[in-house]
């Protein structure tokens, strides 16, 4: 059984507004699917629809074989966790308190942690390498550290499917590598990850399959070799001056961009300044 499946999913922001169309895919246990595409392609909107955060979609979405429309909130939260692009908090919760919130689907509304919940929170904090920061206030952390806390929260939520919207934002190279290792570990333990990435090369390196979005649709969906091709990159991003070559260490295709790919937005003319 697939953990997650989308069948002919569509969505529209009012008549004539931006729309998501014909989204069909299934995630195998233990795989990572990366959704790439330019800004405004509909990646974040799609992720919110798939996580049932945005209502009013067409088609059907299944989590562990059940239609998510019919699922209870807590039951759905035991299957899918969601890490947003950014999360700014008005109040000074500690790292430990934030990660503990991930146990909400198991504790009920009072949030009282049982030994199994405490162990899950501690395990997630240690796994993601933020043990020293557990008593620190979330709001006082750097952008990268905040991101790691949100990932620890999703790990404490212990779902078989994890959605990550731009997980690499704010991360330095060290944290990026920590995150990618965490994703590999998740995959090895059978969890499926759906992530949105602006980094084509990162998506190519670390995902089992890549979905390339353009104008609310999948322009391509398959392995990195199938999707990171000259034709697709030219069509989706509008690039002209670029090369694609395989990473000699991994064999995965990487895109190398030269100058002059955005002639319209290049150096403004003096008359326009």
């Amino acid at each position: 059984m697939n953990y997650f499946e989308a069948k002919n999913v569509g969505f529209s922001y009012g008549r004539g507004g931006f729309s998501i169309k014909n989204i069909n895919f299934a995630m195998e246990p233990g795989e990572t699917i990366a959704v790439i595409g330019p800004n405004g392609a509909g990646k974040s909107t799609l992720m919110k629809i798939l996580a049932r955060l945005t209502p009013g979609y067409s088609g059907e979405i299944f989590a562990e074989g059940k239609n998510i429309k019919a699922m209870d909130s807590a039951a759905l939260a035991r299957v899918i966790s969601y890490i947003p692009q950014s999360s700014e908090h008005g109040f000074d919760f500690t790292v430990e308190e934030i990660v503990s919130m991930g146990r909400r689907p198991y504790t009920g509304p009072d949030g009282k942690l049982k030994p199994v919940d405490i162990a899950a929170v501690k395990g997630a904090i240690e796994e993601i390498g933020i043990y020293e920061k557990r008593k620190a206030k979330y709001n006082e952390l750097s952008g990268g550290e905040k991101r790691m806390v949100l990932i620890a929260r999703a790990m404490a939520q212990a779902t078989p499917v994890i959605f990550m919207d731009e997980p690499m934002t704010y991360l330095d190279i060290h944290h990026q590598s920590m995150l990618m290792e965490a994703i590999v570990k998740m995959n090895n333990s059978g969890k499926s990850v759906l992530l949105i990435s602006h980094g084509i090369n990162l998506a190519s390196e670390y995902s089992s399959r890549v979905a390339v979005m353009k104008g609310g649709e999948f322009a391509a969906f398959g392995t990195a070799k199938e999707c990171v091709t000259e034709n697709i990159i030219r069509d989706v991003y509008g690039f002209e001056n670029f090369d694609i070559a395989d990473n000699p260490r991994t064999g995965k295709p990487n895109v190398f961009i030269g100058p002059g790919n955005n002639p319209e937005s290049a150096a403004p003319k003096i008359a326009e300044l």
């Binding site: 955060l53 909130s73 807590a74 947003p84 500690t94 308190e97 919130m101 909400r104 509304p109 949030g111």
Partner: protein, 323 residues
Amino acid sequence: MTRRIIFYSASLLLILAVCLVFSLCIGSVPIPPGDVIKALTGGGNARMAGIINEIRLPRALFAILVGGMLSLSGAILQALLKNPLVDPFITGISSGAAFGATCAIMAGASGLVAPSMAGAALAMFIVYRISISSKTLNVTRLLLGGVMMGSFFSSLIMLLNALFSKDLVKVVFWLMGDLSNIDAGLLPYGVAASLAAIIAAVYFANDLNIMTTGEDEAKSMGVKVEFIKALYFIIAGVLTAISVALSGVIGFVGLIVPHVVRAVTGPDMRIMVPCSFLAGALFLLASDTIARTVFLPSEIPVGVITGLIGVPVFIYFMMKGRA
């Protein structure tokens, strides 16, 4: 967690009990603490017992109740709107209550509780209704709608004052907040409403904690976001409406007390709910004791004292970087 809730709540209860006895001691007739205890336990001098049980105790209990309700309402609204600068009156509910009370004063009615409750209910309904967008309660619209309705009702009150200025003083005093005209018969209803609000607010407090990190995130963690928003708006609204109906518009309690409590206990609403209630109770009891005793034989509206004490306390916490 449970240990922290009990520690903070028990500490506040103890301080509140000491303040209550102290408050009952002082007034135009000073009464020693021993006599106060005797009067409370049904013994002692009949005259003293009369002053304590029929005059000072009901008023002190009202101060405790109203202070607790305003502070709890403020704590809830600050979390719900993810904005630490919100106070219960920003929802427009108090202005609705004030409008109801002003109408009643102008009409020469004796009881102000029912009309102000009606005004509060009307404001609450309108603000709630205009905050619904695409079947969800939009907290930004709630904030804007509350401010707008507050201004609208305030304009209506000014219009009534301009047209029928004979009762202006009475209206102004009511608007400043006053615990000197209380109806002890209403106390049990206020206590029942407060208890129900505290129990519901504590039970779902963790969901409110999660909501402060973002609605999408809360949904993804299994929180029934729309239910939680509606529940806490209603709890905060009812608490505000009752407190305003009982005692007028007493400012600063609902803004400052939750700030100070949060600085001490942290933002967890499971602790904030009981502690905000108790700290608000303590603050208003102390303020009212000052309001009725400092300028004896006359007294000043308690809203003046809450502002005079509350603002410096708030500035102190702000300067220390804890609010």
